[in-house]
């Protein structure tokens, strides 16, 4: 169980707003230590791997341009993809939302008679809540990616788009394997240690028998080339290769934004993705397949093209760029907010900076209205993003939409809206600003002791819990200027 899914599957139902969820996460010292360790490691590796290429900026520009161009002609490329996949022996299905995608996949599995299927880590199937839908239909979905396995065994939620169990350290993983593996299949070896190599070995043994008898696998896709119908899965462990090769039936669920115009465009993305994501020159395994190949791999290949809010996102000229995302997770790894709160605080399968811009667009900003504010707009994500998604730009754009949506729902303006209006009313007039400054100076000095203001009530409580505020000076700059310089001015 991975938690009940809300609107369109993307958000976890009942998730508190970001500030509240973050408070819980921040109180967890072990979580913070785990996150800090992991994000620090990966930041250095990414910088080394990207710094090695002197044309990194040109690659990013090409990646961005290819994505932007594809999205601007999405219907054209989707139709071409459908044609090429079909010509190569695959079957293409279209799903408008999570429910339709789940129905299609469930029926395809039912037709094979399988009751247990294997899964390769995929954000799209996570987003639609496929495992839960399959469970309802009596089909067990076994996650084969190590981190997904950790999440599944722990009945946990993913907290990172690349390493869903990033919130767990090796000791926790060891305990989980020792306690839970036996319920799902081969138990963990006796005397399992917390050495990463030993943990990887335990996963290998546990899953091997499942791979050997697999009939059906479900995957996502990193890329799909419209001209050839070639689909790509980028991975590390080899569980992907197992799932793409051994079963008779392969079902791939892919967001419609993953299409690329041409096979040759992979020359850009196979450089951008591994270096941004795990900080490697190349990930251990990338599988590319085109339809079916007699005598090699699955005899049936189904490609499910998923909308689930993507065409709504496409309609927003500013927000559209969130669909460029290649799910490398660099933005999460560099984000100072994510580093402190972890992924669960975002309440969505898409956490971190990309989640803060994608989730509200996929589900409607009113269903995730605290997310666009879960950022200091520090810009580290934009710098790291291999396809140059200007996340801060989209964040402020969505903030405006969130404010509008809130205003639309109420008869009276919020206190915050009144405060902003009030501030503008003062700030449009230098005279009023001058008066306000004198009032602030007076008030501030009344509140302060030895030049400092301590704890404050209301919206400033959180601020003043950990910070003093200097008392406003007796004389504002404009007052000083008038007294000392204005005479000299023409």
């Amino acid at each position: 169980m991975t938690g009940a899914m809300g609107a369109r599957g993307v958000v976890f139902l009942g998730s508190p707003a970001f500030p509240d969820a973050a408070r819980t996460a921040l109180a967890d010292d072990r979580l913070r230590a785990n996150l800090r360790r992991a994000t620090t490691t990966i930041r250095d590796k990414r910088l080394a791997a990207t710094g090695e290429l002197d044309d990194w900026e040109e690659l990013r520009a090409a990646g961005e341009a290819i994505k932007r161009h594809t999205l601007r002609h999405l219907p054209y490329y989707l139709e071409r993809l459908e044609e090429s996949v079909t010509a190569a022996g695959g079957t293409v299905h279209w799903a408008a939302d999570a429910a339709e995608a789940n129905r299609i996949v469930t029926e395809l599995i039912r037709a094979t008679g399988a009751t247990e299927i294997l899964k390769i880590k995929s954000m799209a199937t996570q987003e639609i809540g496929l495992n839960e839908a399959l469970a309802d239909a009596g089909v067990t979905a076994c996650e084969t990616d190590l981190a997904e396995l950790i999440v599944q065994l722990g009945e946990d939620r993913p907290s990172h788009i690349l390493v869903p169990a990033i919130h767990r350290n090796r000791g926790e993983i060891r305990d989980l394997f020792a306690a839970e593996m036996g319920h799902w299949g081969r138990p963990a070896p006796e005397g399992l240690t917390d050495e990463p190599a030993a943990l990887a070995e335990a996963a290998r043994l546990h899953l091997r028998e499942k791979f050997l008898r697999a009939e059906v696998a479900v995957s996502g896709a990193n890329f799909a080339c419209a001209d050839t119908g070639t689909v790509a899965v980028v991975e590390s462990e080899g569980n992907g290769r197992m799932c793409l090769t051994l079963p008779e039936t392969l079902i791939t669920v892919m967001g419609i934004e993953k299409v690329l115009p041409a096979f040759t465009d992979l020359e850009v993305f196979l450089q951008l993705l591994p270096r941004s994501s795990t900080g490697e020159r190349m990930n251990p395994y990338t599988s590319l397949w085109t339809g079916t190949t007699p005598g090699d791999g699955p005899s049936a290949f189904h490609l499910v093209l998923l909308d689930n809010g993507r065409t709504d996102t496409l309609a927003d000229e500013v927000g559209r760029q969130a669909l460029h995302c290649i799910r490398c997770s660099a933005c999460l790894n560099v984000c100072p907010v994510y580093e402190r709160t972890g992924g669960h605080a975002y309440g969505s399968v898409y956490p971190g900076p990309i989640g803060a811009v994608l989730t509200p667009q996929l589900v409607g900003v009113e269903h995730a209205s605290s997310l666009p504010f879960a950022s200091t707009l520090c810009g580290a994500c934009y710098d790291a993003c291999p396809v140059r998604i200007n996340i801060p730009e989209v964040l402020t754009h969505l903030r405006a939409k969130a404010v509008e949506a809130k205003a639309g729902h109420r008869r009276l303006p919020t206190l915050e809206a009144l405060a902003m209006k009030g501030a503008t009313a003062v700030l449009v007039s230098p005279a009023r600003l001058g008066l306000a400054q004198r009032a602030a100076s007076l008030g501030g000095r009344l509140l302060s002791r030895r030049g400092r203001i301590g704890r404050l009530p209301g919206p400033f409580r959180g601020w003043s819990d950990t910070r003093d505020t200097p008392a406003p000076p007796a004389e504002s700059f404009r007052a000083w200027w008038r007294a000392n310089r204005a005479g000299g001015q023409r």
Binding site: A62, A147, V163, R241, E267, L270
Partner: protein, 214 residues
């Protein structure tokens, strides 16, 4: 209306800002990036980069292929391996080595039990230390190079491309392609790379240089 038409219709409606004169065929993509970042001889670079993934690399002249293969297998205590059709006989060691074929196709459990596979490759990439398999001669269907725990891949020096763009241009997209960069690994525990999960845990690579150069 079918879901297909619904989705395509929604996408078209969403893209009202794209001028009709803008054609998909004329993609304005700035391709100012390099075709290759290789700045030293390819054999040297490829060998160094493969070794970075903790695979072992051996450079040998082609006439010593069989002896090199034999030595590597012996070092691992292996006396038999799956050898896909089309793998050159001249590269196979003599002596006690048993060559296992794949006709009729072996079951996954059999392959799992065999434990070793020899293969050639389609293309190799120097900068990233990658070998690309395309199920061609000497490589066989994908399961052959996946299930055995030991993979020995023989690369001819002239198969090494400089970098990803050069390699992509050499590949046939209609074939099933597998890019292999080192042994299987994971970064899932504390975001640090550990070798050895589901794919072959040991990868040995031999680079064969033409006899004169070596």
């Amino acid at each position: 209306m079918s879901t297909r038409d619904t989705i395509l219709g929604r996408a078209r409606a969403a893209l009202g800002d794209v001028p009709p004169a803008e054609r998909p065929e004329e993609a304005p993509i700035p391709r100012g990036y390099r075709r290759s970042h290789a700045d030293v001889p390819l054999v040297e670079l490829f060998a160094e980069r493969v070794a970075d993934y903790r695979a072992t690399v051996t450079v040998a002249p082609e006439h010593q292929a069989a002896r090199t293969v034999g030595r590597l297998l012996a070092d691992r205590g292996l006396t038999r391996a799956v050898v896909p059709d089309g793998f050159p006989d001249a590269w196979l060691p003599g002596g006690t080595f048993t060559r296992l074929g794949d006709a009729p196709p072996r079951t996954p459990a059999e392959l799992d039990g065999i434990g070793a596979v020899l293969s050639t490759c389609a293309v190799a990439i120097a900068v990233t230390g990658t070998i690309v398999l395309d199920a061609g001669p000497g490589q066989g269907r994908r399961a052959l190079t996946l299930l055995p725990d030991y993979h020995l891949c023989v690369v001819r020096a002239e198969q090494i491309a400089g970098d990803v763009p050069e390699a992509i241009a050499l590949l046939d997209p209609t074939r099933p392609l597998t890019f292999v960069s080192g042994p299987s690994a994971t970064s899932d525990i504390e975001l640090d790379r550990v070798e050895g999960v589901h794919g072959p845990r040991t990868l040995d690579v031999i680079i064969l240089t033409s006899t004169e150069e070596a």
